[in-house]
């Protein structure tokens, strides 16, 4: 990979998260917190409805990196700033995932600024990956 420039945009991705996806992720990640599958429980603790695992959103944003053929990942971090509310229907929640080159560092690494939008608003803050391009 060569000639990466600040502002370069990675191929975006959009995906729907359904309740079935949450159950599947819960099993795969061994994260059985009921706020991610039990509507009554979620409402009982003050959430609007069942919400997606923050780590699922982070993993999906990570696909923007892996689809790009990222080279070697050095760090990956994100803040979970807003819940992704997943309705009990066949469509689920639409997540729009993007990434762009935020910096080209002197040590040969690049900083990728990632974002995940739900309902037109960011649900990740400071989602950043440092990558050493292949």
């Amino acid at each position: 990979m060569s000639e990466l420039t600040v502002g370069d945009v990675l191929p975006p991705l959009s995906t729907h998260i359904t309740r079935a996806d949450l159950v599947r992720y819960a099993g795969a990640a061994l994260d059985f917190n009921p706020i991610h599958w039990n509507e009554a429980f979620a409402r009982g603790v003050g959430l609007p409805d069942v919400i997606a695992h923050g780590m699922l959103t982070m993993a999906l944003a990570g696909r923007v990196l892996t689809a790009w053929g990222l080279g070697e990942l050095v760090t990956y971090s994100a803040r979970f700033t807003r819940p992704v509310v997943v309705p009990n229907d066949d469509t689920g929640a639409l997540l729009e995932l993007t990434g762009k080159i935020g910096a080209v560092n002197d040590d040969g690494t690049v900083r990728v600024n990632l974002d995940a939008k739900f309902d037109g608003r960011s649900v990740l803050g400071k989602a950043i990956a440092i990558v050493r391009p292949a």
Binding site: Y25, V45, G54, L56, L73, S77, A78, K126
Partner: protein, 152 residues
Amino acid sequence: MALDQSFVGRTYPPESVYEVGRAKIREFAEAIGDPRPEYVDAEAARALGYTDVVAPPTFTTIVNLAAINRIVSDPDLGLDYSRMVHGDQSFAYHSPVVAGDRLLVTSTVEAIMSRAGNDFITLRADIATEGGEPRVTARAQLVVRDAEEAGE
């Protein structure tokens, strides 16, 4: 309710070995919809220089979360699990996690603070192989939302 500050600096030695399996990597990759062949096909992984199928970037959340749950469920800490949400997460990668790895997790409570009625706890997980090769350092900040603000 404030968390017990005396937990800051506590370190939890590994409890048990987690052996990374090919089937678990596949299951995780499918659950996040990531189709890259090196997660499911050992030949494809070897062609890229890995010794076996390699785990997606957030795979170690599995062992990280188990370590987190061990700490936050300690009744002495005083954390209301039902009000806990994930605030942030980071991974620093030292070497690739591959099928066959036998992982040990050492956890440390890095910080506890309270702000606007919410409690924050930062936990670090040092994930390494049984042979002592560092794989991933994972950090999670967990937020325990103020019970008074329910229903916002």
